[in-house]
Point group: C2
Chain length 387, copies 2
Amino acid sequence: MQNFVLHNQTKIIFGADRLQEIGSEAKVLGARALLVYGRQSIRQNGILTAVTASLQSCSVAIIHHGGVQSNPLLSHVRQGIAKAKEEQVDMVIAVGGGSVIDSAKAIAAGALVDHDVWKFFNGKKSIKQCLPLACVLTLAAAGSEMNGGMVITHDDRKVKFGTGNRLLNPVVSILDPTLTYTVPPDYTAYGAADAIAHILEFYFTTADASTPVQDRFMEGLVINIMESCDKVLHDPCHYQGRADLMWCATLALNGWTAAGLGLVGFPMHMIEHTLSAHHDIAHGAGLSVVMPAWLAHQAERAPHKFAQFGRRVFQVEQKECRAAARAGIARLQEWLRGAGCPTSLAELGIAPETIPFLAEQSLPLAKLWRLKEYDQEKIETILRSCL
Amino acid sequence: MQNFVLHNQTKIIFGADRLQEIGSEAKVLGARALLVYGRQSIRQNGILTAVTASLQSCSVAIIHHGGVQSNPLLSHVRQGIAKAKEEQVDMVIAVGGGSVIDSAKAIAAGALVDHDVWKFFNGKKSIKQCLPLACVLTLAAAGSEMNGGMVITHDDRKVKFGTGNRLLNPVVSILDPTLTYTVPPDYTAYGAADAIAHILEFYFTTADASTPVQDRFMEGLVINIMESCDKVLHDPCHYQGRADLMWCATLALNGWTAAGLGLVGFPMHMIEHTLSAHHDIAHGAGLSVVMPAWLAHQAERAPHKFAQFGRRVFQVEQKECRAAARAGIARLQEWLRGAGCPTSLAELGIAPETIPFLAEQSLPLAKLWRLKEYDQEKIETILRSCL
């Protein structure tokens, strides 16, 4: 186990019918809120109405900033920062999934500085303070509701960069599984794929393999994500399934699994970010394509760890280590396919001839995230395995 | 999954050679600290010297309050409260295991009220504020370093009561596994038994059995506690083993496993508290005796859950549910015995004829903790199974 500091101060309010608590939670943070949300679904399913009613009943003034799209755009974040400054809000409230929460985080950090917010993403400035952030989660996927990470796409440069800071942790997040009943099957499955990818980035990229406590925690989460996703794909209003899936997705990236792993990387995310920066695809769908290919590539380096994964998560019975590793990856890919996730670039509409370009576009992020071993050739090799 | 609120703000600083950070962490909390610690070992192993040096280097004034004993006494807590008030300390610093940390918590709460601190334990008063608390952990066992619980023994009345409040969570806890290298084999194993008991209280007492995410997390912890304890009993300075055991013991009772379980109880602890209130035994040793008997008793009510435990934790192969349940409990008892823990009242020097008295003495705590089904007869039955 590596040394670590763990300090996650986000208050989680979890359960059915907790949505109406947003008003009283927000009131503690101030009197004026920038309310950040997405485009259509949030209006149609009544969640926005319920949130505004709760805030109004607690006398919290609302400045609206809807229209966040998936793979959220820097331009929209900049507009939010301008509003937050002009209206002198005390807090930011996000109602949505990872894209909305990440936009809200960028606004919360950008509202308190004079320079452009993108400087936080390209490493030219570091975050020193933020407006307090409250979240109402509507999608089990990104884990942003209980961590200090955020990912934003630069509209013009077509790069999707991420950064993190403990100050970005939401003060409070409301996780009401019933709010995800209306998430369609494809996005439910993409969310599960995203959460599994978060876990496996850590599980397989640790420098020190001696992390038995974290290993069993992560293996349990992967099993539970698959089981709960299967339940809700069969029955979208299965409360237990939606609750388990939501909580697992939060735990997949809230720092608990990573505590003690040492330096971890996000190579799958690095490659996927390029795909969704250049193509209009869901982040989880892109990860579902990259994941089996990256795993197969990585398995060559740590076959024992992969065999452990195959045996414990899928009960594969191959005695030979590399065979067990391959069998585990194959079973995961089968599960992704069965859940309706794409597992090839073709399914995403990405042509083979664009691979060199996509690999090249991934290099700046590889550099920024210090994934030193990922050069043009290696990324191309992995992408070719996604064909 | 049941609704829950999770808000654990304790900052964990984990790893080798982190002890010297206590000074800089304390400095943030104020200028004067009541330093609470135990009796002999803390002086012998150099930890106290290192802590005072770090505090002095950061200009934190120290008021000493050593002498905490295991099964810590109310009288000693009261003395600490008097010192804290007289010396107007800004914070309490605990250097030790659960007994020391629990004493420090009681002092931190008692120092800010005019009434007697015992009123927090008998339910007559509730905690509204506390002095900030910092901990340096020296024993993997109680989990008090990352939760808001505390247990104190009333000297005269011979009762050992516990209570909890989120305000009692330490602000910061330093978990340096190397500080446990000198813990002798018996106390190492008792600590492991204590941590396993914390997990199994929750695992087996949940009203709602549908907690697959928490189940797998807890099963993994039990396996890792046994594996890491075996390692350090063989090699006391095995860093990985000490680190895993320490982190597992913290996770066993920091609220993460309980999130979503609904109302949980502490029936094993209720019975054990009476044993160690009336006999000079280690808490973990008492739990090791009570645990198999209570599990066998409880298994009648939820054989499927016990069979799951046996199959997943010990790979028992019995197909029939009750047989698998029994086999799992037997394997756990074997492990406890193999680790050097007592598994009978005789080994604790407790005579069979005292059982009615001990059962009677357990009743006030059963009432206080709302363990309604535990009457004289039921507790006697369980204690007779410990013979």
